[in-house]
C-alpha cells in the first residue's frame, strides 16, 4: 500500500488548515450538468479525500467501478446506530436525529434487518405488478393534460404543479392501493405539507384501523396490512414502511421529470429523434436518468479498513458516493457529458447499487416514461416560457426546479 494513501481522520490533526482539501461541491452551474468541481475531484482519483462543511474529512467517490464495488461492500454501513454519520449539509444536521425515526426503515438499516424490511415491501413493487398500473397512470396523465389544454394560451402554465406533481402522486396512490377518498386524502396531504412525516403517520395509522373494512385491495398497503393481521408486522412497521416509501419516492421523481422536460426542450435534436420514433421512450428514459442524476450523493461509514482504487478507507471514515459523477465517468460512458438518447446502456447508477438500490425504481421508470411521452405527444409545440437560465432551480441533496413555466 502506498504511504500517501494512508490517511488519518481529521480529529487526529486539529492543526490542519481547512483549505488543504477540496470541499464537497453541491451547486450546479447548469441545471442538467453536475457541479463542475466534480471533475476536479475526479482528477484527484476515483476515491479521494474531501472536507465537509463542518470541518470533518470524508471520502468522495467519483469513479463508476469504485461506486459499484463500494456499494456492494458489507464493510460499509448505513446504520446510524453503528457509526457516526457525516452530514453533507447543515440543514440535515439540524434535522437529526430522532425526529424522523420512521425514515430509518430501509434507508438506514443494514442486513439482516434490512433484508427483512425490504422483503415485506417487495411484492407490490416487482416490475410486472408496477407495469400493470400503466393504463391507470396514462389515463391520469391525459386528464391532467386535458385540463392544461383547456386553459387560455395567453398565459404560461407552471408545469410542475399543473402536471408533474399530481401525476407522481397518482403513481404513488396506485402502487399503495389507495383509491377514491383515501387516494384524494393522500394527494391533499402531499400538496399541503412540507414535512410529510407527521401527517403521514396519522394518515397511515387511521387507515390501518379501517383496513379490515376495505377488503380486496391490491396495493402495497393492502399487502402490508395483511402481514399485520398475520402477526408478521407491527402497526409501527406498517406506518414506518409506508412513510419511507412515500417520502423517498416523491421529490426525486418530480425533480427528475421536471428536469427531463427542460432538458429535452433545450436539446431539440434529441427530442426530434424521440418524436420521429427513432428511439423508444424506455431507452430515452435510461439516458435521461443517467444524464440528470438528481441525487447528489449517498452516504456510508466504513466499519473496517477497505482498500480500494489505490487508497485505504479507514474504519470510521465517512464515504460520499456521488451518483452524478459516476454517471459521467468517461471510462464507462463515451462522450459522457453529451445527452445521447440513442445510447444503449443500463449501467447508470442513478438508483444506486447494492442492497439499497432503489426499491421504487420500476415505478420511477414508469412515472418518467408516462409523464414525458404523454406530454410531448399531446403538445408538439411545447416550449419554455422563460429563458433557460431564468428557470428557478433548487440546489441541494436532491437537485430540482423551483418552477417550470411553459407554453404549449
Amino acid at each position: 500500500m502506498p504511504d500517501a494513501a494512508r490517511r488519518t481522520p481529521a480529529a487526529a490533526h486539529p492543526d490542519r488548515q481547512p483549505h488543504d482539501l477540496p470541499g464537497l461541491p453541491l451547486t450546479r452551474e447548469c441545471p442538467y450538468h453536475p457541479p463542475r468541481a466534480y471533475e476536479d475531484l475526479r482528477d484527484r482519483g476515483p476515491v479521494t479525500r474531501i472536507r465537509l462543511y463542518d470541518g470533518r474529512e470524508a471520502w468522495a467517490v467519483t469513479g463508476h467501478a469504485a461506486f459499484r464495488s463500494l456499494l456492494t461492500d458489507e464493510r460499509l454501513t448505513v446504520d446510524r446506530d453503528k457509526a457516526e454519520f457525516p452530514d453533507l449539509v447543515r440543514v440535515l444536521a439540524l434535522a437529526r436525529p430522532g425526529r424522523h425515526h420512521a425514515m430509518r426503515a430501509l434507508l438506514r438499516t443494514d442486513p439482516p434487518l434490512h433484508t427483512e424490511q425490504r422483503r415485506a415491501m417487495l411484492p407490490s413493487l416487482a416490475l410486472k405488478r408496477v407495469q400493470s398500473r400503466r393504463p391507470a397512470l396514462q389515463a391520469a396523465a391525459d386528464r391532467l393534460l386535458d385540463g392544461l389544454a383547456a386553459r387560455p394560451r395567453t398565459e404560461p402554465a407552471e408545469l410542475i404543479s399543473a402536471y408533474v406533481r399530481p401525476l407522481v402522486a397518482t403513481g404513488m396512490t396506485e402502487i399503495l392501493g389507495l383509491h377514491g377518498p383515501d387516494g384524494s386524502a393522500l394527494h391533499d396531504l402531499l400538496h399541503r405539507h412540507f414535512d410529510l412525516v407527521p401527517p403521514l403517520d396519522d394518515f397511515l395509522r387511521s387507515l390501518l384501523a379501517r383496513m379490515p373494512d376495505r377488503p380486496g385491495g391490491d396495493g402495497l398497503l393492502d399487502d402490508l396490512a395483511a402481514q399485520v393481521r398475520d402477526g408478521r408486522l407491527t402497526t409501527e412497521q406498517f406506518v414506518h414502511y409506508g412513510t419511507v416509501l412515500v417520502v423517498a419516492g416523491q421529490d426525486v421523481t418530480i425533480s427528475t421529470i421536471a428536469l427531463a422536460v427542460l432538458t429535452l426542450l433545450v436539446h431539440g435534436d434529441e427530442l426530434d429523434r424521440l418524436r420521429a420514433g427513432e428511439v423508444p421512450w424506455s431507452r430515452a428514459v435510461e439516458e435521461l436518468l443517467r444524464f440528470l442524476s438528481v441525487t447528489s450523493g449517498l452516504v456510508r461509514v466504513a466499519l473496517a479498513d477497505i482498500e480500494t482504487s489505490g487508497v485505504v478507507i479507514r474504519a470510521g471514515d465517512g464515504v460520499v458516493l456521488l451518483n452524478p459523477a459516476a454517471n459521467r465517468d468517461p471510462g464507462v460512458f463515451e462522450d459522457a457529458d453529451r445527452l445521447d438518447l440513442r445510447r444503449r446502456h443500463g449501467n447508470h447508477v442513478s438508483f444506486g447499487f447494492g442492497v439499497h438500490q432503489c426499491i421504487g425504481q420500476n415505478l420511477a421508470r414508469l412515472d418518467v416514461e408516462v409523464a414525458l411521452s404523454r406530454l410531448f405527444e399531446r403538445f408538439p409545440r411545447l416550449r419554455l416560457a422563460a429563458p433557460v437560465d431564468e428557470v428557478p432551480v433548487r440546489q441541494g441533496l436532491v437537485f430540482g426546479l423551483g418552477a417550470l413555466p411553459v407554453r404549449w
Binding site: T72, T115, R119, G354, N362
Partner: protein, 66 residues
Amino acid sequence: MRITADRSRCVGSGNCVRTAPGVFDQADDGLVRLVGGTLSGEDARNAAEAASLCPAAAIFLTPQED
C-alpha cells in the same frame, strides 16, 4: 451457457426481468425466478448483461459445452 440465481442474495430490483425477460421473472414474493436454465443466442447475451447489472450479485453464469 448455464445460469443460476441466488434468491437469498436477491433484493428484488427487477433489473434482470427488464434486461432479459426471456430468462428471468420475479416470483410472487418479488424475488428472482429463472424461466430457463440453459441458454444460447440473444437470451445468453441479455442474461450476461443482466448479471452485470444485478445490484446484489445474485446471478451467476457458467459456460457450458453442448
